[in-house]
């Protein structure tokens, strides 16, 4: 079997798998709905009114959010790993999610509940952290330094958020604490109008930057000598990651490990480092895994954050051990 065949087969399998999981995600929940009724509700066929309401107004939105969040976080992780040439980079590890959290905290604790306001604050927060990391990383090439700085930024942001929490009113505090637990289910149809276009724009930017990403595999200097405009590419990548990780964090809370783990799983699965394969592939693997996490979290009534961590940590441990 040639490498080309393998890639084609994997893409087909992943596409079918994500479609199947998407339908399963609609069927699973506190009320079990047979797949037949799910299909009827989706296609406007005959089914009880309550069923159709649950499927279309609640579960469909949540499943779309799961697909978007999984794809967005995974692609963002892939971009960060290649850009910083660091296998342990990801939106969560580098503190990009924390930057977004700070933005959200400022908004929520100030009593702002406007979705665009929250998203905007998250974008600004994550972009700020990215620029900071890039500025420091430019001077210091050591990848460990960047990771440690990411962790320091996260801790610093957490401390600031704690102070904000301490000073804030009770209702606002409760809203914020619930947000930090991470949930795919808090997205209303209204928020979806911001989430979907923002994530899609981020993904389009990710597709546009596959050639720069492939050159950046060689490091910035080689990329420059092969004709890459590093400044422009980095700006596009930052914009993309800000939209992807920032938006998802704003609406679903900080979801860890997906962004870090999925690019590795995808590289291993496809046995390739070419971003022309990896970008679409991580979109699919990210969506598949997030749907699985959502289904599991519904079956056992657990926060999705906990599931992604339990699933992601073994993968991260494996990467660290293998790199030794």
């Amino acid at each position: 079997m040639s490498a080309h065949h393998r890639t084609a087969i994997l893409f087909t399998v992943l596409l079918l798998l994500s479609a199947a999981l998407f339908c399963l995600d609609l069927a699973v929940g506190s009320v079990a709905i047979p797949l037949r009724d799910v299909w009827a509700a989706l296609t406007g066929g005959e089914c009880p009114k309550a069923t159709s309401k649950i499927v279309l107004d609640i579960r469909l939105i949540k499943a779309v959010v799961a697909v978007m969040a999984g794809a967005a976080l995974s692609v963002s992780g892939l971009q960060m790993q290649t850009l910083f040439r660091n296998p342990l980079a990801g939106p969560y590890v580098l503190g990009i999610s924390s930057g977004a959290s700070l933005g959200v905290a400022l908004m929520v604790l100030a009593g702002v509940s406007l979705p665009l306001g929250i998203a905007g604050a998250a974008w600004v927060g994550s972009a700020l952290i990215l620029v900071l990391i890039a500025a420091v990383g430019h001077r210091i090439k050591d990848i460990m330094v960047i990771l440690i700085l990411g962790m320091m930024f996260s801790s610093g942001v957490s401390a600031v958020v704690q102070i904000l929490q301490y000073l804030s009113r009770e209702e606002a505090l409760k809203a914020f604490v619930i947000w930090t637990m991470g949930s795919l289910g808090d997205v209303t149809a209204g928020k979806l109008y911001i989430l979907v276009p923002a994530v899609l724009t981020g993904l389009i930017l990710a597709v546009v930057t596959v050639k720069p990403l492939n050159l950046l595999l060689f490091g910035e200097e080689y990329a420059v000598t092969m004709g890459l405009n590093v400044k422009k590419s980095r700006t596009l990548l930052f914009a993309s990651t800000t939209l992807l990780a920032g938006t998802v964090t704003a609406f679903c809370g900080p979801i860890g490990f997906i962004g870090l783990a999925m690019p590795h799983v995808t590289r291993m699965l496809f046995a390739d480092s070419d971003h022309r394969v990896l970008v679409p592939a991580t979109i699919l693997t990210g969506a598949v895994v997030m749907l699985v996490c959502d289904i599991v979290s519904k079956l056992f009534v657990l926060p999705v954050n906990a599931i992604t961590a339990l699933l992601g940590i073994p993968i991260v441990v494996w990467i660290v051990l293998r790199n030794k």
Binding site: A3, V208, V210, K211, N214, L215, L217, F218, G219, E221, Y222, V224, T225, M226, G227, L228, N229, R267, A271, D272, S273, D274, R276
Partner: protein, 248 residues
Amino acid sequence: MIKLNDFSIGYGSRHLVEHADTAFPDGCLTALIGRNGAGKSTLLRALAGLNDRYSGEILIDERTLASMPRPDIARSLAFVTTERTRIARLRCADVVAAGRAPYTNWIGRMTDTDREAVASALKAVGMEAYADRTMDRMSDGECQRIMIARALAQATPVLLLDEPTSFLDMPNRYELCSLLSRLAHEEGKCIIFSTHELDIALRMCDSIALIDEPSLHCLPPASMIESGHIQRLFHTAAPDFDILRFLH
């Protein structure tokens, strides 16, 4: 061809090269030599457009380097750094194909011309058999050759290499230098490489560029030996060490 006009470079308060006027012609293999810290890498990086903290002018085929857009520079010169590059899960053919980046479209689609360039670059460094292998299970020397093939695939009139022989054993060093010499003579490329191997530089290159802070001497090997610069610069405190006798 690379030309330097009143070229000065340094770092901090140190002036490595001052007011140099020299030319590296096409079809000529030049070895850049100098003591540790003399600024070989600094000079090469400036020529490659990676360091713009210099004064004076660098001309590449009559165009000022500083005014050339990145893609144009990438079509004029290729660079192989000292960095050990190993990219996991990327076939050697794809590594070499990255050198075609200045010629491919936004997504990097390869045309027949691009594929031919990749194949002939792999052949030139004797690595055709490695096209489908990945770098994670190859020796340093093999990875080095793949990175050189990548630079060749860039199809540039100028080729710069920073210590390309450092990972290689004796036979491989000679082989690499004869490859560079062949490329310079048969394809008319202007090739400059920095090295610590004085024997190879003096025996196999057409020209020697010696950084003798703050001058840059460019002479053919025989005249370079006659000039006495090498004996003076590579003189050591050891009384019975004669650099020239050591080389012969």
